[in-house]
């Protein structure tokens, strides 16, 4: 199959996976697999920066220890770290002929790799991480293949951004739902006090609020105690 056709298929497959509630790790794993298929590289992985700023491996085309260790070591030095720090692509690095990362180069060579690439996962100004690719030979990757790899890295970036936005939306929705429930519980407690003590809603609310203040309670917590029958506010405020 022509490389362009494979790339197009890979992009469509990834786009199909970008539905609501997708599993970001699974999607990134598919992406590293497609990198290997489409771009004629031997292994690929995705490293993302944690909130604290250190790089961690999120997905890999293989779970072999020798490969995972190569991601691990890049929290200290390596093409991914450089790529993440500068936001620039690091491509076609001959591991036998590059002094930048001695520890990384030594381990990568021992694992059988001869060349390495790292492409930034960028959104506007920010760099989220890097797409890392390894080859068992030192042949130069064509510019067209690098462009294809960058397209895959861009899809990964979108997936991560969407995932983070969804997580934030979920949190906000929980807050919204909690706030709605708090309002409801306070109204229910007002109704119970109004009925029990024969007062109107305003007086009931004043009694509730005054009791909360006098006993240093949150209004919402006191209201819940009232509706759960743990508190009946025996002495309501008077109009």
């Amino acid at each position: 199959m022509a490389r362009e056709t494979m790339l197009a298929r890979a992009l469509v497959e990834l786009a199909d996976n970008l539905v609501s509630d997708f599993d970001v790790t699974e999607l990134l794993t598919v992406l590293t697999d497609r990198c290997v298929d489409v771009l004629d590289v031997s292994a690929a992985g995705i490293m993302l920066a944690s909130p604290a700023g250190d790089l961690r491996v999120m997905a890999s085309s293989s779970e072999e220890m020798r490969l995972l260790e190569l991601f691990e070591v890049q929290s200290q030095e390596g093409p991914c770290l450089d790529c993440y720090n500068t936001g620039e692509a690091v491509v076609n690095v001959d591991l036998g002929d590059d002094p930048r990362w001695p520890q990384f180069a030594q381990r990568a060579t021992a694992a059988g790799f001869r060349s390495v690439h790292a492409l930034p996962m960028r959104l506007r100004g920010a760099v989220l991480g890097a797409l890392n690719m390894f080859n068992v030979d030192t042949g130069q990757v064509r510019p067209a293949d690098m462009a294809a790899a960058q397209a895959l890295a861009d899809v990964a970036t979108i997936a991560i951004i969407q995932h983070r936005a969804a997580a934030e939306a979920k949190l906000l929705n929980e807050q919204l739902s909690g706030a709605l429930n708090t309002r409801i519980v306070i109204e229910q407690a007002k109704g119970m006090i109004a009925q029990r003590h024969g007062v109107d809603m305003e007086t009931a609310f004043t009694a509730l609020r005054d009791h909360a203040r006098a006993h240093n309670l949150r209004l919402a917590d006191l209201a819940r105690d009232v509706t759960d029958g743990r508190q009946d506010l025996a002495t309501p405020g008077h109009p």
Partner: protein, 203 residues
């Protein structure tokens, strides 16, 4: 379209009306709020658009109690679009038309965009609210049916039951007497209606 409205929902239940364009839209929401069924409730629960181009015809088999009062108010077709951000569901956009008929493709697409925008705006507003509080803008514009919950509290004390059960009793009464839940609640809060002496009144 003849009118539109937005219902806020949480825990699969209608919690309030954020806005509506007129009395008929308000009625469509109120009936769903009273009965717990209808296009917005379905759209919210199922997370997908719900279209009923022929409310009096095919709609009757779909929602047993919702259809009659709404058709009587002159509604021919109803549509519900979920308010979603990713997997998060906030409620539904409600559209209606006074004559039967489906949405055009463009109208359907526009409604989806509108529902998305509404969902984003609700979350943006809530993002600025203090912890545990409803955003001011939402609290001011939303009708959260507070009187219904006040009435539930009163009925709970009258009958010595929990507030959740009391709300069920209120809904059942509204349904049995074919009245909006809101009106029944108003009567309870105004002390024109008591549930502990209800049996006597009925006799």
């Amino acid at each position: 379209m003849s009118g539109a409205g937005i219902m806020l929902m949480a825990d699969d239940l209608a919690q309030g009306s954020l806005c509506s364009t007129g009395p008929t839209s308000a009625l469509i929401e109120q009936v769903q709020y009273t009965l717990g069924e209808g296009p917005c409730v379905d759209a919210h629960r199922q997370g997908r658009p719900v279209v009923e181009p022929d409310l009096a015809g095919t709609g009757a088999g779909r929602w047993a109690a919702f259809v009659e009062p709404v058709v009587a108010a002159g509604v021919g077709a109803v549509f519900g679009f979920p308010l979603r951000v990713g997997a998060v569901r906030l409620g539904a956009l409600n559209l209606y038309r006074d004559s039967p008929g489906d949405l055009s493709d463009d109208q359907h697409a526009d409604a989806l965009v509108l529902a998305d925008v509404a969902a984003e705006v609700i979350l943006l507003l809530q993002a600025r609210a203090p912890a545990g509080m409803l955003a001011d803008e939402l609290a001011r514009s939303a009708d959260l049916h507070v009187v219904v919950h006040q009435a539930a509290g009163m009925v709970a004390v009258q009958l010595g039951i929990g507030v959740t059960d009391a709300l069920v009793r209120l809904r059942a009464h509204a349904f049995a007497y074919d009245r909006p839940l809101r009106e029944v609640a108003d009567d309870v809060v105004a002390r024109r209606l008591r549930f502990d002496t209800l049996d006597d009144q009925d006799d």
